[in-house]
Subunit: 314 residues, 2 copies
């Protein structure tokens, strides 16, 4: 029985991995992708993507993901379902544990993305993309002259609340304890509070996002003044990011303090033969087209790496 050794094994099937696979398979580089949950990643679960260039009227995330997948299939990439638990080097190959079984490969692309931390309250999952949001750059523009609630008290919550004032008529900022953002941001926030654009609710937690006609209609909050309902058109949640990098914790791949994979500008990680691109990468801007663009770039680096290995007879 001949042992199969892959040229490149990609972990994840979001825009970054699928784009990388378009490039590698189009160049006849043997490529396998493993997905744990949904092909297309976070993009596939997005209601409407307005800023992926090439779709002037916007495109539903699921439809875009299907187009990516179809393009990959056309060039012959293999997509399998499987859960990755570790990446190790054994002599000249890398060994990736897939559902407990070792798979040998010459190179690995980590493109597992990041998940937004959720509140875990009623209405949140049901209204995802229709009033429950996690990305201001992506979805803020849908709420011109609307009322919003923003959840969180850290740097990103305050920064995104200020950013959203360019669209929203008013923002309720819901902070669990006190505002933890930097002094500069807090001073900035105060200006918007003084101008009546942002109202800060301290020691306040959201209990439920309410719905009307399939869209968010408000948020029920509990604070010093008891329980009340704020009438808002959407709730933007910024309480943290969870990079999908847990399977790397015992590997030689360096992660930053938040768990994102550290790479150089050629998308090489600290572990030879292991590359990373897209939202799991430290420094990524978390936009579909940027993740895709990095996928094309990392594919060129991977091609060079594999050509070099083969030149040396490995």
């Amino acid at each position: 029985m001949t042992e199969v050794i892959r040229d490149v094994l990609m972990v994840g099937t979001g825009p970054s991995a699928l784009t990388a696979a378009i490039y590698t398979t189009r160049e006849d580089i043997d490529t396998i992708l493993y997905e744990r949950a949904t092909i297309g990643g976070l993009a596939a679960t997005t209601d409407m993507i307005d800023n992926y260039p090439g779709f002037p009227e916007g495109v539903p995330g699921m439809e875009l993901a299907e187009k990516f997948e179809k393009q990959v299939a056309r060039f012959g990439a293999q997509i399998d379902f499987g859960d990755i638990s570790s990446v190790k080097r054994e002599d000249e190959y890398l060994v990736v544990e897939v559902d407990g079984q070792p798979v040998k490969t010459r190179s690995v692309l980590i493109a597992t993305g990041s998940d937004y931390k959720k509140l875990g309250i009623p209405g949140e999952a049901e209204l995802y993309g229709r009033g429950a949001h996690y990305c201001a750059t992506c979805d803020g523009a849908f709420y011109k002259e609307k009322k919003l609630a923003v959840v969180g008290g850290g740097n990103s919550a305050v920064q995104e609340a200020i950013f959203l004032t360019r669209y929203a008529s008013h923002i309720d900022l819901l902070v669990r304890s006190s505002v933890k953002a930097s002094e500069v941001l807090q001073e900035d926030l105060q200006k918007y509070v003084d101008a009546g654009k942002i109202t800060v609710h301290l020691e306040t937690k959201p209990l439920e996002i309410t719905e009307e006609g399939g869209r968010a209609s408000g948020v029920i909050i509990e604070g010093p003044e008891g329980t009340q309902t704020l009438n808002v058109d959407a709730v933007f949640v910024f309480v943290g990011l969870i990079p999908n990098s847990g399977f790397l914790k015992d590997s030689d791949v360096t992660l930053d303090e938040t768990g994102l994979v550290v790479t150089n500008e050629r998308f090489e990680t600290s572990m030879p033969g292991v590359f990373a691109s897209g939202d799991v990468r430290s420094g990524a801007v978390r936009q579909v087209v940027s993740a895709a663009g990095e996928g094309a770039a990392v594919a060129l680096t991977i091609r060079e790496y594999i050509d070099d290995l083969k030149r040396r007879g490995l």
Copy 2:
């Protein structure tokens, strides 16, 4: 008369500038783009783009460029024709010379791309994209089991000729004088010559690309053995790249030894308020989706820069 001060002035209208403009205008940042020749840049002049994710069957370059432009127009960006001759700082603003007239702006995005150096022989322009090519990663896959000619003797010509052997049945490498590529590449090349995959023609120049039925049918060459016609399905030309950065030569923007704009990973150049993305940037991989991805990323950096200026009352 009130003087108009732009938030961001973009030089170029290729995939990188258009994507950046989708992002900035969608966020209501006042944006103007200047184009010297064709809206859509090099992408617009490409016959068929096979590897831009989201178009499973490929998309004609002109059609993709039109989609980008339509999307930009939807968010309200202004595109004007004009030739940029300099970028200078005057007190708190940047001044860009457009057709000899000064235009004031808070920030500048340089996304002018690069042009491939041409041979300037008959048939080359006429058969562009249909047998005359300048990018192996983009167009090599269209020539599986076909015969190709590659023009050039430097590192990129030898590297791309070797790369193209994964598709082509045979390659004629046309070298004006002698092979100038690195020793490693020359050793590598020798293996392909020994295997009969590549034939090297030294002291040889192409005179004309011949046509049959609207596609390239061969190349007429002149060498030590006189003039002859090689029957090939396409000619790939790798004789150099011309970054469109001439207008920056008296500016504070640092260029690398080939004339490409040097940036850090946030796409900032050495000149405050001036940013660069896409094929004019040193380190760019020269793929449409990567240029677009960088456009989204640089737009986020520009937004931060402008927000910071305005916070300081500038």
